[in-house]
């Protein structure tokens, strides 16, 4: 993002403790950066997603941190800045939508435009109702309007004020996929012209796959991973996720040196002499990290391979072979023990037996750093 100084970025560094009966029961401690377009904030309920949105919108006050949008500082605990919610120009659509039940669609939508002159207000309301295809409902009250159309009106009400950021707290839960896609299509369409950062909260993986350009995964109040949907959901950064996602090899390692230009670092596995190259992570030389490797991502050779692009080749000895269904689980001692999955055909072709000397081949990017 360094090149896009003028991009209407939302940055937030927030720390907020929630106390119950005096004891701290939950800590939200995050640092996020949201660029124009849709970013998904993904996490189970209770992960702190709504608290984070409330802090950004100014409805909750962080204990500490800094929030800025499009160059303006909205909150800064160090400089004692706290712009009140009505002046932040941050749109927020709640899960419950919170349409005013005593006002009709048109009145709801124009609620945020009270400072404008009548004609200008009319014009804007007209345009946004049309953009979200609800112009026919303008005289109806929320109680008379169906679910999907209420969502459209809530979006229109938030966006008509031309906010600099849009926060969406699971606004489309309960809608079927087709309705959802239609509404998101209209939202994307609207945002191609405006290009504001949109933070979309969900706990559903399906929505991440359907909408996500970028994903921030939140767990127990901390960002556990951020990036493209594939990377975030497939590259585990935490032990718990690693085990859950089926990483059979979870090895502790010591960082030897960082090669920033190559985007890699060398680590020594356990107490062994075995050194491998892994993707660059947030670590300093000498620090301990955890490396997660899928058993199916490791190649096994009976001769020392050469002319390979893979950077990690380790010599070892097979400890055991165990057939499980159509898969053979090989345990290989290279100073540390690796679990490797091979097919029964490969076992026969390579005449693999316990005690046999083998070489393991591992691509750098098959090694995932954990926490």
């Amino acid at each position: 993002m360094a090149g896009e100084v003028n991009a209407p970025l939302l940055t937030a560094r927030i720390r907020k403790e929630r106390r119950s009966a005096g004891a701290s029961s939950f800590v939200l401690d995050v640092r996020i950066e949201v660029s124009p377009g849709i970013t998904i904030l993904f996490g189970a309920s209770g992960a702190g997603k709504s608290t984070l949105l409330d802090c950004i919108a100014g409805l909750a006050r962080p204990d500490e941190g800094r929030i800025a949008a499009g160059g303006d500082v909205l909150f800064d605990s160090a400089r004692r800045i706290n712009v009140p919610a009505p002046e932040r120009r941050i749109a927020y659509v709640f899960q419950s939508l919170a349409l005013f039940p005593h006002l009709n669609a048109e009145e709801n939508v124009s609620y945020g435009l009270m400072d404008l002159r009548e004609e200008e207000r009319q014009k804007r309301v007209e345009a946004i109702l049309k953009a979200f295809r609800v112009e026919k409902l303008r005289k109806q009250r929320p109680g008379q309007i169906s679910g999907g159309e209420k969502q459209r009106i809530a979006l229109a009400r938030s966006l008509v004020t031309e906010p600099r950021v849009l926060l969406l707290d699971e606004p489309l839960t309960g809608l079927d996929a087709e309705l959802k896609a239609g509404i998101m299509g209209d939202l994307r369409e609207w945002n191609t012209a405006k290009g504001i950062p949109i933070l979309y909260v969900t706990h559903s993986r399906e929505e991440v796959d359907a909408l996500g350009e970028r994903v921030i995964a939140l767990e127990n109040g901390i960002v556990v991973s951020a990036g493209a949907p594939m990377d975030v959901l497939d590259a585990p950064r935490r032990k718990k996720l690693a085990q859950a996602a089926g990483f059979e090899n979870l090895l502790s390692a010591t960082v030897l040196d960082l090669r920033e230009a190559d985007g890699v670092m060398r680590v020594r596995l356990g107490e062994s002499a075995c050194e491998i190259e892994v993707p660059l992570g947030y670590a300093a030389a000498g620090s301990r990290v955890q490396v997660a490797i899928r058993a199916g991502d490791i190649l096994l050779a009976t001769e020392r391979p050469h002319g390979l692009s893979a950077r990690n080749v380790m010599e070892g000895r097979i400890i055991s072979l165990e057939q499980r269904g159509t898969m053979v689980i090989a345990r290989v001692d290279c100073g540390v023990t690796f679990v490797v999955h091979v097919t029964p055909g490969a076992v026969r072709a390579l005449e693999l037996t316990a005690g046999r000397r083998v070489w393991l081949v591992l691509k750098t990017h098959s090694c995932h750093l954990v926490e």
Binding site: A57, G58, A85, R88, Y92, H102, D115, P142, R157
Partner: protein, 222 residues
């Protein structure tokens, strides 16, 4: 009939004043997070449990020529507050306070907080949110508060007797008039007045219950 007219006038004044004072108080009690809030809540509810004569007695002492309120009143207007219509209004406002404030608190608290949040992020300050969201959605509570404080003032006896005495056309309200008639064994006259009060009370309570059951509302229920 002079007494009934006087009572109506008193009740209308008290209800109007209570709505005016009651709304900010109820707003504060409904939304404040102050720890000592319960103290103010108790104070507001006090007239519910206090015997009217006790309240009337202290009101009278305060309004008397040597009381703080009486002194202030004399300095401002040149005459005392006790045994006047103004004194009656003041004492009745105190006495009916909880009847106005509690329905208001209940209805303010009943407004979905998310609507207040939505109003705030749409750029509305506290005052605009109150007028355009909280108040319209609390209409049944406002009607209840007005009607209850009107009815409660209409029927009061102890406080009026203590503070106002029994001056025809100035402080002789319906209930005191009824008491007078009974004392003079004029049961027929007492009955006529009592019937009128009974009818008004019933009508008033019907309004309160109808509004709160949403028999009619300005907008359709969800």
């Amino acid at each position: 009939m002079e007494a009934l007219w006087l009572s109506m006038k008193l009740a209308a004044c008290v209800a109007a004043i209570l709505l005016l004072i009651g709304m900010p108080v109820a707003y504060w009690l409904a939304y404040s997070n102050w720890r000592g809030k319960f103290l103010l809540e108790s104070l507001v509810a006090l007239p519910l449990v206090l015997p009217p004569t006790v309240l009337g007695f202290y009101a009278l002492v305060a309004m008397g020529p040597r009381g703080p309120l009486g002194k202030l009143w004399i300095a401002l207007f040149g005459h005392g507050l006790a045994f006047t219509f103004g004194g009656l209004i003041l004492a009745s406002v105190l006495y009916s306070f909880p009847f106005a404030v509690q329905p208001l608190i209940a209805s303010f608290e009943g407004v979905d907080r998310k609507l207040l949040d939505a109003s705030a992020v749409l750029g509305a300050g506290g005052l605009r949110t109150f007028w355009q969201v909280i108040l319209p959605l609390s209409l049944p509570g406002v009607v209840t508060a007005a009607v209850l404080s009107f009815a409660h003032t209409l029927g009061e006896f102890g406080v009026v007797l203590m503070v106002g005495g029994n001056l025809a056309g100035v402080t002789r309200t319906v209930s005191i008039d009824i008491y007078d008639h009974v004392q003079s064994l004029e049961y027929g006259a007492a009955n006529r007045m009592a019937l009128v009060l009974l009818a008004i009370s019933f009508a008033v309570l019907s309004v309160v219950y109808a509004v709160n059951r949403r028999v009619w509302t300005p907008w359709p229920a969800k």
